[in-house]
């Protein structure tokens, strides 16, 4: 009530300024006239009465000012004046203003951009009703954790029976589906869900209806699907008659019954669920079969996740106790994990949370550098304004008042920088989103300028203002009146110079951390890119094929494969063509149980083997030498005796050497599916899935010996004479010509595939380098600013020295030497700081230690060189001082 009255009075006062002034004027004039009239009535002559009335009233101007202050208008008046003055000051020194605005824009922009991503991926709750009641229930073990937890329908029923804990429980299975809409096939993200999905989340459709219990497939319901708003707009132009439209999903017919709201993306952060269908529980009825299907439950309001975990854990133990092998239980069902699902589930989060946190730390340091730099520049500039400030103090301005004015200037600078910074940030973080790896499906998320982002940006700006504005303002407000009184030239107190120097040194120290970190990340990226993978990656193209859910089955697939091998092989510039199921770095891993007769397994690793089904010429495509024996070739057809080529590591482990392996046998699988292979060749080791870890043991098995045609993703691999990137279009059009409906996912160069694996590393290295460059630029600007102002201050001193016979070059060296001392001091502190802080990078580095001496020295050298470069102009200016002019100045 009171606050409201104050706000109302302040609002009225500030909006109806002239009206309020007029009222105040009228009121006081009325008072004076009434008083005069009263006095006249008492017999005082009019002229005397008027004077008395005024005298009794007191200073009208003063009372008016007090009246304005009472309404909170004084501050507003002052603010207006300060802002006008700030604008004028800025216009007078455009160089400083531009430097300050640009560096704040970069600092705030970088912070807002990274925060935008972090918010999107790590902080923001999913757009459903009461997201904080949602929990994600998974089983974890040695091999599974977080979003990859397993479940099945009987276990789900078990969990759902706990109506004391949950108001509702659902099962969700995410997948990529081949969706055909009016004859056009595309690959879309989708999910199969229990029919309570939408009611549990509290999401209503924008069109049509969502699922009801009767939609459940096991009850013989006709298959229905709900589609996303995006898909509706894209493929149906938002037309309302989409309801009832038939589509096919993985070759099965569905009818569209509803459309989800535009902001709804599902609970998997980073991807939009374009098609949502009811899950068929009969597929997951077998209690011994577990699949990656999150169980999402809505807790009752008075239940918390911890309590749920305590209840679920013994339930899981009981459930897994029967019919499940000890090993499986140990690997996947050891414990129950209950995590909040308020922020959705995300594989991207798992992959990017540590790089993003790191980037946030880096941009934080960058903003700190920006602040220190600006503080330094302001201190230096206020030296030049000392006279002006002293004059203000002499005229009666309080120190608070002077500080307020200087802080207003800082705030205006910060605001001018922040606005373009935030605009830039939104654009650039969306650019980053576009570059996120699309391994699982097209990433669809966007950073928008909503209140979360704007609040962050505003807080960052306010913090920045205080951080860079406070020290200089406080310093300047301590100005003495002496210079004005004594009419001396502006002199700077030693203390003030010290503050300026300390700020530049601090800026150097902080910059070292950023630069050293960036160099570490860059070198890691280079090290990784240069890792010897063991095969030729420069001349290979990979054609990714996924026949699942298409008409390419059995014989048709086999014919297609044969056709393609011949057709691609006869293209100009193509050297060799082959195909394989687990091409290096393509993500498909195929492990099999392994038994080697005569060799006792030492540990669990000895009983599994990574296999790759390869066609003839595979080793030629990748330039893999056969160390012993022969490669897999045309001889190895269906019906011939099973053979294998193994990697050197395999031969070493089980037979003690490549030579000894030839002619030996091993067995994959067990019982009915067991196959015995004879080793006919040994090839070189390669890095297979991870550039960072040494080669694994591998067995290459002949593609065309496989008993069944595999209906799994595979790749054609093609080696070319020239740069393979140039052959991509040729190969695409050849496939298009042969089989327009071929289920080709992508045609990529092997280098591209490997680089895709380095996304996080590249992101960190690129952004880190960018931030380091900004820090270096700021270091140069800061040094230059300080020296320029110090130089101006020393003109008289240099003049005297020159007049006494010093050589101009000595003056130049003096400036350089002093600055070098500053740079070296800052660097040493920075190196100490870097050794401590850069340890956080340890897990991300490759072939380097965070405290790598060469690296730190390198960073220090870069900074010192930058500082020297920034010294040149001020140093030459010092050398060119004319002693006569300088002395006259004194």
């Amino acid at each position: 009530m009171k606050l409201f009255a104050s706000l109302k009075s302040f609002a009225r006062a500030s909006m109806l300024r002239s009206r309020m002034e007029r009222d105040m004027d009228n009121e006081m004039r009325f008072h004076l006239e009434a008083r005069t009239a009263d006095l006249v009535r008492q017999g005082v002559p009019r002229a005397v009465a008027e004077r008395r009335a005024y005298a009794e009233f007191g200073d009208v101007v003063k009372w008016k000012e007090a009246g304005r202050e009472a309404r909170g208008l004084r501050l507003l008046n002052d603010l207006g004046a300060d802002l006008r003055y700030a604008v004028r000051t800025m216009r007078r020194s455009p160089g400083f203003t531009i430097a300050a605005v640009v560096s704040i824009a970069l600092g705030i922009g970088a912070n807002t951009a990274i925060f935008g991503l972090i918010d999107l991926l790590l902080l923001r709750p999913v757009p459903v009703r009461n997201p904080y009641e949602l929990v994600h229930i998974t089983a974890t073990g040695e091999r599974s954790s977080g979003s990859s937890g397993l479940s099945n329908y009987p276990w789900f029923r078990e969990v759902a029976s706990r109506t004391d804990l949950f108001s509702d429980v659902m099962l969700v299975r995410h997948d990529l589906y081949k969706v055909s809409i009016s004859g056009r096939l595309e690959q879309l993200m989708g999910q199969r869900v229990t029919t309570n999905y939408f009611t549990l989340l509290g999401v209503a459709p924008v069109l049509g209806r969502t699922f009801v219990a009767a939609d459940q497939p096991e009850k013989g319901a006709s298959p229905v699907a709900v589609i996303s708003y995006g898909l509706w707009q894209r493929r149906f132009s938002g037309n309302a008659n989409v309801l009832g439209t038939p589509i096919t999903v993985d070759q099965k017919p569905y009818t569209i019954i509803g459309v989800t709201p535009p902001e709804f993306t599902g609970i998997l952060v980073g991807w939009t669920m374009d098609v949502i269908m009811p899950l068929d529980p009969t597929e997951f009825m077998d209690a011994r079969n577990w699949a990656t299907m999150p169980i999402i439950a809505r807790m009752k309001p008075d239940v918390n996740a911890l309590a749920v975990r305590q209840q679920i854990e013994p339930m899981l133990q009981r459930f897994a106790a029967t019919g499940i092998s000890e090993r499986f239980r140990h690997r996947y069902l050891e414990h129950a994990a209950v995590d909040s699902a308020a922020r959705g589930l995300s594989d991207l989060r798992v992959e990017f949370s540590s790089p993003l946190r790191l980037l946030m730390a880096a941009v934080g340091v960058l903003l700190l550098i920006t602040c220190v730099n600006l503080a330094g520049l302001l201190v230096a500039r206020n030296v030049a304004r000392q006279h002006e400030i002293a004059m203000r103090v002499a005229l009666g301005a309080s120190r608070m008042r002077v500080m307020r004015q200087l802080l207003t200037e800082s705030a205006l600078l910060a605001l001018l920088g922040a606005v373009p910074g935030v605009l830039l940030a939104i654009r650039s973080s969306n650019l980053l989103v576009e570059f996120l790896p699309q391994d699982f499906g097209p990433v669809s998320m966007a950073v928008r300028a909503d209140w979360r982002i704007l609040t962050f940006a505003f807080a960052a700006t306010a913090g920045t203002t205080l951080l860079f504005g406070l020290i200089p303002a406080w310093q300047a407000a301590r100005a003495t009146v002496a210079p004005v009184v004594h009419r001396t030239s502006p002199r700077t107190s030693t203390a003030r110079v010290r503050v300026g120097q300390a700020l530049v040194a601090a800026q150097f120290a902080l910059s070292i951390v950023l630069v050293a970190g960036a160099v570490l990340l860059l070198r890691t990226l280079l090290n990784l890119a240069r890792v010897d993978t063991g095969f030729d990656r420069e001349h290979v193209l990979v054609v990714q094929v996924d026949p699942q859910g298409t008409s390419y089955e059995r014989d048709r697939l086999r014919v297609f494969q044969g056709e393609m091998l011949t057709a691609l092989g006869s293209l100009p510039g193509v050297r060799h063509v082959s195909l394989s199921t687990s091409t290096p770095f393509n993500g498909n891993i195929d492990g099999k149980r392994l038994t080697v007769p005569g060799v006792e397994p030492r540990d669990a690793d000895d009983t599994v083997i990574q296999v790759n089904l390869v066609g003839p010429n595979y080793f030629d495509v990748f330039g893999l030498p056969i160390l012993r024996g022969r490669p897999i070739d045309g001889r190895d057809q269906a019906g011939s005796a099973p053979v294998a080529v193994v990697s050197d590591a395999f031969a070493q482990r089980y037979f003690g050497g490549a030579g000894a392996a030839i002619g030996r046998q091993f067995m994959t699988g067990s019982g009915q599916t067991a196959v015995t292979y004879e080793i006919v060749g040994v090839t070189r080791d390669v890095r297979y899935q991870n550039l960072r870890t040494a080669s694994e043991r591998l067995a290459y098995l002949p593609w065309f010996q496989a008993r069944n045609v595999r209906l799994a993703p595979f790749e054609f691999v093609v080696s070319t004479n020239e740069d393979p990137a140039r052959s991509i279009n040729m190969i695409r059009s050849e496939i298009q010509r042969l089989r327009p409906d071929a289920p080709i996912l992508a045609v990529r160069t092997m280098t591209g595939v490997i680089n895709g694996r380095l996304f996080a590393e590249r992101l960190l290295a690129t952004l880190g380098t960018f931030f380091a460059l900004v820090a270096l630029t700021l270091a140069a600007v800061g040094t230059y600013g300080l020296l320029t102002h110090l130089g101006a201050r020393r003109v008289p001193e240099i003049g005297v020295r020159l007049a006494l016979g010093a050589h101009p070059r000595q003056m130049m060296w003096m400036t350089i030497r002093e600055n070098l001392t500053l740079a070296v001091t800052g660097s040493l502190i920075g190196i100490a700081g870097a050794v401590v802080t850069l340890r956080v990078l340890d897990n991300l580095l490759f072939g380097l230690s965070p405290s790598d001496a060469v690296n730190l020295a390198c960073a220090a050298l870069i900074l010192i060189l930058v500082s020297l470069a920034a010294t040149i102009v001020p140093a030459r200016r010092a050398a060119s001082v004319d002693p006569l002019v300088a002395l006259r100045y004194e």
């Binding site: 009171k2 009121e27 008072h31 009434a34 003063k62 309404r71």
Partner: protein
């Protein structure tokens, strides 16, 4: 004039509230009423009434409307709001307790202790 008493810090607001509580007044009227009921013993810097009135208005304790004065001029008439009446009660209580207590202390004779 010699008997005039200077105002204690912070009491002007209370006096204004009291004066207005007896009926809507314009600024000059407040002055006259205060002088009248204090028998001209209170010396109030006349101009200081206005910042005080604006402060009370800002705090939502008084409100105003324009009206016609005795000499047919437009004047701003202040009156108490509900919050103002409440504040006046509180302040009056407080003031009476305080002045009573101070009076007791000052009246204390040597024998009382």
């Amino acid at each position: 004039m010699g008997k005039n008493t200077e105002l204690l810090q912070g009491t002007l607001d209370l006096l204004i509230l009291k004066a207005i509580s007896l009926g809507p007044l314009h600024g000059y009227g407040v002055l006259l009423r205060l002088q009248q009921i204090s028998n001209d013993t209170l010396q109030i810097p006349q101009g200081s009434l206005y910042p005080a009135l604006y402060r009370l208005e800002h705090q939502g304790l008084v409100t105003f409307e324009w009206g016609e004065s005795e000499n047919k001029r437009q004047a701003k008439y202040y009156s108490l709001t509900a919050a103002g009446r409440k504040r006046l009660r509180e302040e009056t209580n407080y003031w009476q307790r305080l002045s009573g207590a101070i009076g007791l202390v000052l009246d204390a004779a040597p024998g009382d202790v």
